[in-house]
Amino acid sequence: MTRYVTSSVHGGSFGVADDGAYLHAHRTLASQHDVLTACAARWTRTACALSSRRMDVSVRFPATALPTSTPSMHAPDGDADMLMHRIACAVDACNDVGVMVRRLADECGRLADLVARAWGIYNAAESRNRARTTKVVQLLAKADPLAMSVIGLGMGLFGAGYGYATEGTFGVAHMSHATSWMQEGLLAGIGDRMSGASPLDTIMRNGSGVAAAAGRITAISAPANDLVQGSRLTIRQVHALTAPVGYADNTATALHDLRGLGRANADTARSGLSYATIAISRYARADGTNAWLVTIPGTDGQADSPLGWEQNVELMSDDATERAHADSARFVAEAMRRAGVACGDPVALIGHSQGGIIAATIASDYTDEFTVGHVVTAGSPIANHPVAKGTWVTSVEMDDELVAALDGAANPEQGRWLTVRGSLAHEDDDRLLASSAVDIAEGPSGLTHDLAYHEAAYASAAQLGTPALERHDDHFRRTIAGEYQGTSYWQGRIGDRGDEDR
């Protein structure tokens, strides 16, 4: 079964001229939809009125109801039959015109919907509703985290049961889908509880408790992880047999390459790459300087990988030092240094899951060293990262992927921070450009944290031609504008030997 994703765009900036044109078009088409729907209904009522007159004729001239084989005594009976026939034709005509007018109304509605989605006309309201739900769940979870966790588990099991009934599989994907509405609030509330946030903080802030809780955990887990895994970072340049990451001049291509890198890392025999390998592409600019695109895959969980599970917690800490010293952030920063990324060179970073958190961390905590112009994240909980003001952020999230909700907060909706929010769509959705197909093997529903879903979500948003998204895409393109010089691949390992970190 092919899966589809539909998207909405939140945040970003619009031009005033665009606002006016989109708003006018939407209002006009929505208004015409209403007017024509009413007109179609009136045609139908006219048809009904004519039918009633026809019945009236048949009652008043009962002889006409007799079969035509029975000769009528009065010639005018033929006129009555004729009139009834003509009225019947008129009824058909009214119904036909009514149907045609209704089709016009429907088309106006579809076009209005297309404009609304491209312009994000309902997205602000959607965001507000989502924020309210999150806040309520957050407050309840702060008050009684155990009870809310049990409710969450119950919802998840219900979803899993539904998945079993519909697809025959008892998967985590269905659990995650069923609890999507409460994930962010639940995690925010638990984070508040763990970090000892005051009630005022719980009310006023969304994800700060999660970051504070991650900081507390990191204070204990990071040293423990250093003992178990080691803290000596080994980085080496490796050569790929294939070219998973190539020239990119737009966000969609960079996302596709990011997915390609993840697959290449998992397919060592064919690609020559291995886990915890990032790609750094160089673009030579006309002024002799370079622009860079850093492609960072997600968590691989290998024992000697800097992109392990524990590093996720460190990266989400509210402490800048803890974030910056996470093995994964150190790895990427060091690889960038070795690749030759200079202080003033414009850099774009794109990452999936932990890769996105690393990108946000570098844009937040390595500002003295790197000039990060644009960050693209896919399925990364980065709402609490203090990304530098000059950095543009394009986030792609699926609304039912638990990972993106781990920050316990929605991404800021600002001109420079745009979030594409995708959700699973029905195949029979007849709206114009409603969804994009997910390029994934058929089978039981998997977690939407898979990058294939983010790619489809971005494609769905991009095909709408939203001006805000186009501005972000254009900024991404300008950040790495230049002549493509090739891509280098850097592999990181964590252990007790060969400390090559800074």
Binding site: Y22, L29, Q32, D79, A93, M100, L111, P467
Partner: protein, 132 residues
């Protein structure tokens, strides 16, 4: 044509129309229906026929007026659609969605013009050459 552009078919309603249109007139002499006082009880078969014919004529006029009014309302709505959709261009809208939007708006306007014409001729169905 009426001033609003719709086809005015009122002038087609005559006793002759009701008595001759269709396939029946070939079977009997064509004759004009002479108006009779509606309050009079028909005293003969001829008077009875006249009363019936006038009743039928009234029904037809009523139906026609109904359709004419509807066609006129529809014309107004579709004229407004044609007028307003001429001003919903979004030049800054690029990509597949922008192209699709412009194409569908063009098609919508064409279709609206066709439907308008269909609505105009709908009342004429009452005077068509039908068969029973």
């Amino acid at each position: 044509m009426a001033s609003n552009g719709s086809m005015d078919t009122t002038h087609h309603i005559t006793p002759l129309t009701t008595s001759t249109a269709g396939g029946w007139h070939a079977r009997r002499p064509v004759r004009m229906l002479i108006a009779a006082g509606s309050t009079l009880v028909p005293g003969s078969a001829a008077a009875f026929d006249t009363t019936r014919a006038q009743a039928l004529l009234a029904v037809m006029r009523d139906c026609h007026a109904l359709m004419q009014r509807m066609a006129h309302e529809c014309d107004t709505a579709l004229d407004d659609l044609l007028r307003t959709t001429a001003m919903v261009r979004i030049d800054a809208w690029h990509g597949p969605a922008g192209e699709l939007y412009r194409e569908r708006i063009r098609a919508l306007r064409t279709q609206a013009a066709i439907v308008r014409a269909q609505g105009d001729v709908a009342p004429a169905m009452l005077f068509g050459q039908g068969t029973i």
